[in-house]
Each structure stands twice: as structure tokens, then as C-alpha cells.
Amino acid sequence: MDEVSKARQSTGKGYLRAKRILAYTVLIILIVISLLPFYLLIMNATRGRVQAGVRWYPDVYLLDNIKNLFGPLTTTNYGSVFRALGNSLFVAACTCVLTVYFSALTAYAIHAYDFRFKRAAHTFILLIMMVPTQASAIGFYRFMNDIGLTDTYVPLIVPGIAAPATYFFMIQYMKSSLPLEIIEAARIDGCGEFKTFNRIIIPIMKPAFAVQAIFSFVASWNNFFMPQMILSTKDKYTIPMILAMMRSETRIDYGVINMYIVIAVIPVIIIYLFLSKFIIRGIALGSVKG
């Protein structure tokens, strides 16, 4: 068959339908597997203290677990659940804002300006991206200890300003979506550099912001390693730390633990679903080329 009819065949209705069925099937399988952990989590949150094996339908201990989770025993042992949620939220939100804003600012610096060490700075940041967080962790802790910043949130939030991976994303995004003419135009209009960034560039970067905001929020929310190293007062603990504490009890109450995880996950899911509209819109916006 010649090329044209081959092409016509590949766009024929039957072929499309078959492909569509395949696509939906694969999607549904993936969705089921993806949702499996969530489903099981919720099922486990309705079960009792000792949970052997897997249970695919709810048990009767949902209210008990909620009662215990917010009850006096848990509060004395681990601090108020609300408090831990608040702590996690505070740290994650602050980190997220700082990361996104300053990564964009740094990317803007490299993208929009021409100066002698531009290439070197860019390469340097990429290089840092390769360093595992564990590498500087030990020295980091010692240093924080020496300057008395342990058991505060500063070491958890402030380093978010220097986030190489986010920078990388921002600059890739800028390269394809941020034409320099806009900056020129702003300058001609008499806009100061900083104002240009804040008033004009940031709105354009919204989709990138949305995407990276979620990534960095989730990363900070789920982070166990750093807070565990830095914090020592129970009142300041974040959720992953409390979970670890609950797991090392001899009288492990799995119903409560799973309920706790469910509650810990809900704010993140809400924020994600809220932002997902931005992302989708952002993706559409990002496809318009200058």
C-alpha cells in the first residue's frame, strides 16, 4: 500500500476506536493501582488496634479511632493533633512560598540579564542539584547546633530559598515561554527591574508556579529526615515525626495511626485539587507561543 492510504488507514475510525479502548483500559488499570494505597488507608483507618492482613471493606472502628486520635491519651503522648497539623502546614507553606518565589527570581536573573559570570552561575546551580541532601546533612546539623538554631523552624524553611531543582524547572520554562521583548517593553514604560519582575513576570509564570508549588509543598509536608534531625521539642514536631513516634510504641494502635495518616493527607489533597485547576489551565496557557 502506498503512503497515503496507509496514513488514511491509521486515522480510520475503527483504528481510532480500538486505540481509544486500549487507552481507557490502561488508564483504568493505572487508576485502580494508584488509588489502591488510598483506599486501603481509609479501610485501615476503620479497623481496630491490631490489624492482620488486608481488609477490603470497612470495619466498625472509625468513630473509635477518631475519638482516640483527638482524645486525651493521644494528646498527652504526642501533643495535640491539630498542633502537629498546624506545624506541618506552617513549615510546608513557608517553604513552598520561599522556594517558588526565589527560584523564579534566580532563574529570571540568569535568563534576562547578561553578565560575566552568568554561564558559571547557571552551571554551578546545576551542579549543586546533583548533591544529595544527605551529603551536607551531618555538617548541616553540627553547624545549626553551633549557632543555636536547632529546635527552631529556621533550618527547615530558610534553605528553601536555594532550591536548584525548582530553579532548573523555572529556567526551562522561561526559556520557552518568556520572551525578552516583554522586559524591554516594561523598561521602556519606565518600570523598575524589581517591579517588572513582580508585576509582569510573575503572572506569566503562574502555571510554572502552580506546578512547583505543589511539588515543594508536598516534599516539605512529607519530609521526615530534616525535621527529625533538627527538632527536639514535641510541641514543634511535624506529622511524619509524630507518626514515627507512634510506630515505635509497644502498644501500637494501627487504627489510630492510619486515621492520623488519613488526616495528614487530606489537607494536601485539598490543596492539590484546588491547585490542579491552575495547573491544567497553566498547561493550556503554556502552549501558546510568543
Partner: protein, 467 residues
């Protein structure tokens, strides 16, 4: 812009919330002073206002608040803020944090100094043999005060200079718990004395295991269930002078467990696993478990019931799963398992308070008797007199079908000898041996391969040890 505003608003709201919920949750309460004791007449220097306690879970906190606070000596307790510094035990984090704090101890501000820290039996030796623990005698606790403590607990906490530097409120002798219904079926009797005759040593135990197997039952559930029986009876510690030696007893455990695994006498589970817990239920086929005191009250009781035991205890009776169907007997070998020690840290500024805590919780007969009698606690306390009183008062345990297992535990506890058996590296060695030998037991690796992996794991954990 909207996005940033939302995020900023959220952050601000959260800050506000956390600021308001910052009202203190101090765990020091002013309990009843009606049963308080008079302080000993010793002169005490200016006492600190903050008591820092390092722990890994809330067990001690619960004992403290339920049994110490109502009985506290107000002259040393009032006005002191109790600070619970809890770090999870996972990944050795507790010790890491504790060691860091110990390094800073001498330069720390008085209120930040460690006052008390807890230790588990498996690594107690590390702290007992060091210079960071305060001998009890220096706190003013005499050997007369300690006279009711079981010998083996005193041995565990005695340092090379012969001074006891830690104390515990728990004694943890172990027993073999078995199911009465299966005993009736296979052995024809469920009477503890008669069953004990049949399993009074390891060879007999193995014979009964074969009988169980014939009828389709497992003698024990997991590979590591019997570990303590052997590790408690070694002739020398794991490590002497930086050299690891696998004691004959440990080798015997490996041999025995391999035999049991090959013949199907165990259910191939691992300690604390879901399946291991599930094997305690009515529809499971496991004949018995090795548990020490706390295991019976918590692990076994909570796992074996079908309906979770309500707070008012109303469904804690026969018919609820296997409640009332378990019996206890001494088992083939006497052993102990676990236990938490309280250590006073050098440099503390709360000696008088610590002394009071230790006396009340680990030496006082009345208080310790109430700890064991308490339904929700049931700690087998480290006080021979208290246990004797309970037994004399006719103690029975409904969970065990009315059996008086305290009498058995007393016997077992007296027999225990922990001198020259512990090393500072026990925790890592026990753990790594068990996890690597599992590969040998389930046929994944040969014995030599498993052993090699064991030494490799130990090398990364304790590089200074040789074998």
C-alpha cells in the same frame, strides 16, 4: 498573584492558629499529697526547675503520671516542669539523639541538661559501663532500699566498679503461653503443671512440637520466638574486647530454628509482623508463644480477642476470641525479655527529685503492688514483696482462665542470672543475626552466606568490632 495571596493567607492563618494553641501543656500536675512520704533528712543543694527526661515512647510517662505524681514528695516535686523529650527508637534515632545531648551535657545550661534517660536492656550495658550514669548510692539510695528488687535486674545495671547505676520498675521474666483448647486436643490435658512436664526441656519441647505437627498445629509462630531462651543463657557476652564470638547457645538456636523451619514446627513468621499477630487468633493454628510479662498483658491479650476490649472492660471475658483460653507455664528454659531502666545522668541538677522518683517507682512496695494490680497496666513490678503480697491475696488472672501466673513468674524471675551476659552491642547483633538467619531458615541462603551477610551488616554498624 491570586495563588500567592492564597498561600500567604493560609500561612498567616496557620501562624495565628499555632500561636493561640501555644497554651502550655505541661504534664506536671499537682496530685494528691495524701500518700506522700516524708523526705529523707539529707541536705540537698539548690534544685533545678526543669526535669528533662529522654525516652522513646510514652510507657514511662504513663507510669509516672499514674503512679508517681499522686505519690510525689511535694517538697521536691512542686514547681518543677517535667520535659519529656521523646525520640522514636526506629533507626537507632533515640540513641543518636541521646548521645548528641550527652556530648553537650557538660556545656549545656542547667535547664537544658539531661536529668533522666531511659535505656532498654539490649543497650543498657553501653550506658551502665560509662561515666555518664550516676550511681544510685550517690543519690542517696541504699541497698536496703533496693532489697526487694530481683537480683537479675540489679546485675544488669551494675557497672564494672560494682555500683548499681540504674533501676527499673519492671521485671520481665518470660513464660510459654499455650492454648488450652489445642492442649486438650493433642496432649489430652490443659493443666499447666502437666503440660509443663511434657515440655520441661528442649528435647521434650521438640517432641511435643512433632506431635503438634501431626495434628496440623504449629508449636511456635515465628523464627525468632525462641531467641531469648538461648541468648539469655550464654556463657559469655556477644562481644569481649571488640571481638565478636557466636556463643554455643546462639549456634544452638540457629540449629534448632532451622530444624523447626524445615520440619514445619513454626509458621515462618517474623516477630511483630501482621501474620505473627494474626496467629494469636482463634482461627489460627499456633499452639503457643513465648512472652514475658508485658507481652502477655499487651501483645497477646489485644491480638487474641475478636472484639477490641472496651474501655470499661465489659467484653473482657470468655467468648471474646481466645480470652480465657490461654495458659502459662514456665517452658523449657527460663529467660527474660525486655525491660526499661531509669538512669540519672551526671550533671543533673535534680538529684532529690530523681531520688524520690526512683524510690517511689522502683522500690516502694505499696506503689509497685498497685502497678501490677492495676487492670490497664499489669506491669510485673520489680518488687518481690509486692508480688508476694498479691499472690497471698489470692491473685487470679481471668485472661488466663483464672490461673495465677504471678507465682510462675516469681519462680522464673528468681532463677534469672544476667551477670556477664550483656554487651553494649547486643541490640545491633541480635537484630542483624535474626534478620540474616531468616534467609537461612526460609531457604534463601546457605548458612555460610547468611553468616557472611551478618558480619557485613555488623561491619557497617560497628566497624570497630572484629570476628
Amino acid at each position: 498573584m491570586k495563588l500567592k495571596r492564597i498561600l500567604a493567607g493560609t500561612a498567616a492563618a496557620v501562624i495565628a492558629v499555632t500561636a493561640f494553641s501555644g497554651c502550655g501543656k505541661g504534664s506536671s500536675s499537682s496530685g494528691d499529697s495524701s500518700t506522700g512520704r516524708d523526705p529523707s533528712g539529707a541536705e540537698t543543694p539548690e534544685q533545678g526547675k526543669v526535669l528533662n527526661i529522654y525516652c522513646w515512647n510514652t510507657e514511662f510517662q504513663e507510669r509516672f503520671e499514674k503512679f508517681y505524681v499522686p505519690n510525689a514528695d511535694k517538697s521536691v516535686y512542686d514547681g518543677v516542669k517535667i520535659n519529656w523529650i521523646q525520640t522514636t527508637n526506629e533507626g537507632n534515632l533515640y540513641q543518636t539523639k541521646l548521645d548528641e545531648a550527652l556530648k553537650n551535657q557538660q556545656t549545656a545550661v542547667a535547664d537544658d541538661k539531661i536529668d533522666i534517660f531511659l535505656v532498654e536492656m539490649d543497650y543498657a550495658a553501653k550506658y551502665v559501663n560509662s561515666d555518664v550514669a550516676v550511681p544510685l548510692a550517690d543519690l542517696g539510695i541504699t541497698s536496703d532500699d533496693l532489697k526487694n528488687q530481683y537480683e537479675y535486674t540489679k546485675q544488669t545495671f551494675t557497672n564494672p566498679d560494682g555500683k548499681q547505676v540504674a533501676t527499673t520498675w519492671q521485671a520481665t521474666p518470660g513464660l510459654y503461653m499455650y492454648r488450652a483448647d489445642i492442649a486438650e486436643e493433642v496432649l489430652g490435658t490443659s493443666d499447666p503443671d502437666k503440660v509443663q512436664e511434657q515440655i520441661s526441656d528442649l528435647d521434650k519441647f521438640t517432641e511435643v512440637a512433632a506431635k503438634m505437627k501431626e495434628k496440623g498445629y504449629y508449636m511456635v509462630s515465628g523464627y525468632d520466638d525462641m531467641y531469648r531462651l538461648f541468648s539469655n543463657n550464654v556463657s559469655a557476652p556477644w562481644v569481649t574486647g571488640n571481638k565478636i564470638t557466636i556463643d554455643d547457645q546462639i549456634a544452638r538456636w540457629i540449629e534448632l530454628t532451622k530444624e523447626y523451619s524445615d520440619k514445619g514446627y513454626n509458621h515462618a513468621t517474623s516477630l511483630w509482623d501482621d501474620q505473627w499477630s494474626a496467629d494469636m487468633k482463634k482461627d489460627a493454628n499456633v499452639f503457643g508463644y513465648f512472652f514475658s510479662t508485658w507481652g502477655i498483658a499487651f501483645s497477646l491479650r489485644d491480638a487474641t480477642v475478636d472484639q477490641k476490649i472496651k474501655d470499661d472492660g465489659s467484653n473482657a471475658k470468655e467468648g471474646n476470641g481466645l480470652y480465657g483460653q490461654w495458659r502459662a507455664c514456665p517452658g523449657p528454659v527460663s529467660y527474660s525479655w525486655g525491660g526499661t531502666g531509669i538512669v540519672a545522668c551526671q550533671g543533673t541538677d535534680n538529684e532529690a527529685l530523681i531520688k524520690d522518683i526512683m524510690l517511689k517507682l522502683t522500690c516502694d512496695t505499696e506503689i509497685m503492688k498497685s502497678m501490677t494490680a492495676d487492670e490497664t497496666v499489669q506491669d510485673y513490678t520489680n518488687n518481690k514483696e509486692a508480688i508476694k503480697l498479691l499472690i497471698d491475696e489470692g491473685y487470679t488472672n481471668p485472661f488466663l482462665g483464672g490461673q495465677n501466673h504471678l507465682a510462675l513468674l516469681t519462680e522464673a524471675a528468681e532463677k534469672l542470672d544476667m551477670s556477664n551476659k550483656l554487651s553494649a552491642y547486643d541490640q545491633g547483633l541480635n537484630e542483624k543475626l535474626q534478620s540474616n538467619m531468616k534467609l537461612y531458615f526460609n531457604g534463601q541462603k546457605t548458612y555460610e552466606e547468611a553468616l557472611k551477610l551478618f558480619y557485613s551488616d555488623i561491619k557497617s554498624l560497628y566497624p570497630n568490632l572484629t570476628h
